[in-house]
């Protein structure tokens, strides 16, 4: 979906609006995206399979599905989150950094809370 923009025949550059210009790169079939999507599904169903079949002892299982999860996060970031693209300042990196910061905080604090260290309080 593109944003509404000034007509192509007008020089958007004069108004300082060049960032609104559409960027059409002659692309072929989106191999990377299809691969990323299929790979993500595979990783999800893989961990689902491992958990429902109880193939390993719980601790190892946890370690394995965590690894799969990290792999999937990396895959999606690389394929879908435009990490490597930029025209001018890489605006997309700022929210991504924020996401990491907040997600790590949430996970860390959740682990702390759910350990119930003190027993009764």
């Amino acid at each position: 979906m593109a944003e509404p923009r000034t007509a192509p025949e007008q020089s958007a550059r004069e108004e300082g609006l060049e960032f609104l210009e559409p960027r059409v790169h002659g692309e072929g079939f989106p191999m990377a995206q299809v691969f990323g999507y299929g790979g993500s599904l595979l990783l999800t169903f893989g961990s689902f399979f491992l958990v429902t079949r109880h193939l390993m002892p719980p601790v190892i299982l946890l370690a394995v599905i965590l690894t799969l999860a990290i792999g999937q996060a990396a895959l999606q970031l690389g394929v879908f989150m435009h990490i490597r693209e930029s025209r001018g300042p890489a605006w997309q990196l700022m929210p991504l950094g924020l996401a990491f910061f907040i997600a790590l905080g949430m996970i860390g604090m959740s682990i702390w809370i759910m350990m119930f260290k003190a027993g009764v309080s």
Binding site: E3, P4, T6, E9, L17, L20, I102, G105, A118
Partner: protein, 661 residues
Amino acid sequence: MALPGWMLYLIHTLFPADTRRPTELGADVLIIATGAILFYILIIKGRWRHVWTEWITTVDHKKIAVLYLIGAIAMLFRAGVDALMLRTQLALPHQHLLSALEYDQLFTTHGTIMIFFMAMPFIFALFNAVIPLQIGSRDVAFPRLNAMSFWLFAFGALLLNMSFVVGGSPSAGWTAYPPLSENVFLPGVGQNYYLMSLLIAGIGTTMTGINFVVTILRMRAPGMTLMKLPLFAWSALMTSALIIFAFPPLTVALSMTLIDRLFQSSFFTLGHGGMPMMYVNLFWLFGHPEVYIVVLPAFGIFSEVVATFSSKRLFGYEVMVASLVSIMFLAYGTWVHHFFTMGAGPAVNAFFGLSTMLIAIPTGVKIFNWIFTMWGGRIRMTVAMLYQMAFIPTFVIGGATGIILATVPVDYQFHNTYFLVAHFHNVLIGGTLFGLLSGMYYWWPKMFGMKLDEHQGKWAFWLFFLGFWVTFFPQYLLGLEGMQRRMNTYPFGLGWHLLNVISTIGAFGMGAAFIVLVYNVVWSLRYGERDLTGDAWDGRTLEWAISSPAPEYNFARIPVITDRDPWWAMKESGATLANSLSPADIHAIEMPKNTPVPFLLGASFFLFGFGMVFSWWYVAVLGLLCVIATLIYSGFNYEEHALLTADVIRGTEASLGRLQA
């Protein structure tokens, strides 16, 4: 007469006993009557074509704003009626107007609708109506996605409201804690409705969050640096940042409950190693940021309103921005204060008690800055400003009782009493609702081209304000006297009688306020004072520079920003947009075309949700296939733009008197 088996099954499933009580039958009559009126208007009078081309398929942020607003007001009505029924039941001790189940269902839908289907769409109404105009943009970054967000909200809301008359309402509270919300305790479809409607609406909300982050970061007019961004836009940016990271934990918690209920897993069940407390953690991981999602926009609105009606530049802009940003971060680190009594340990509780109190600091800073803005200004007491004036003391008291609740040992006493109920209504009504109503009165001329009548508006305001305090002040005292939240009735002789009577009277005062408000809106739409200048309040920010309502393309020429209050600066220097636009400045504009995709997507999700609610897998799969088909159609639809020629725009601008001869 013997009905065939499948019909008996359908009747039994769709209309179980709790949809055949007098209230539900009454609602049925209302729904059928409304349906008949709609049928008459749309089909018999042939307005459906207009509704379809102008509204249902629209991708224009200004029209989507109107749609959101209609939805929000309708939901305010629905959830308000719920509240009045609850208060009627509680007015006197030992009353049994409502059964315990009916009472549970009413407070569940009241809370869920008020937060997710009233506050959120009301906020998005104002974001959509104002943000693109304020930052000098022609639309949001992704107009079609924006329409999709709206229709997902609308069909999610429809699903939840339908539960009342088809299948049975949810009854586990707006927080829906397991194990109560699991199959063992609530086997009906009510909880499924709750889960599916919030999941569907949640997709829309997340997309809106993304849309506004991109819009505000990337679509600002040239010259509008982040430190020249109006505060309402800053608050929208921070709200969106909260939405993007707070909704995933909710989605996870809801999906896991859904999988428990529909596919017999045991994430949160009591048996089989389930962990209900994990749901509580996940829910509030979302829930606390959510309360700031609904209050930050109000902060933004007040920052605009107070500057305009004090005819002064906002005091301490940089500090206001800094406190918005720090509230955004802090809001992610306080969620345990909703479950101190779960007993995660003294260290955890002390940490989160402190972090909660920390939020009061930036909030207090903002309060002082609003007061300093008024200080020495020429104040105009419009309705929007009245809400702002009422907000300050009300919110301060709500914040103060919040601090009391954040003190862990004290919270062990007050948790889940009416003291808590009073606290959060104090901040939600005094903060969020007053803020949204203030914004509605303030930006109404920009949205509809006429003012809401001030005299009637003041009546509604005073009824709301007084009604609010009469309702909720007694509830603080009731909490201190030990009245628990969510009780459906209470015995004689506990000293709760009088306070409950007063509270119910106040609630009906707010009911009256709502009626006056609606009258105010309807009256003003017909007879209200037209706004021909585009600048109804002598405003400061960019949205007041264009005509009211804004033309389809917003700005014929994107302005270049040099000042934090750009329109004020233009007025000071005498160079208005109106007389600076010459015909040669105007070029053709490419606009996004209307599309039925968002509506169809919402309808497909609705079908999917409905199938899931009743575990009718064929229906659910069909709905999902429709979702995929709509997306594929949308993805291969390359003709999404139409050209608005320069001549058309010149014509429009000239008819608005905004073109140099």
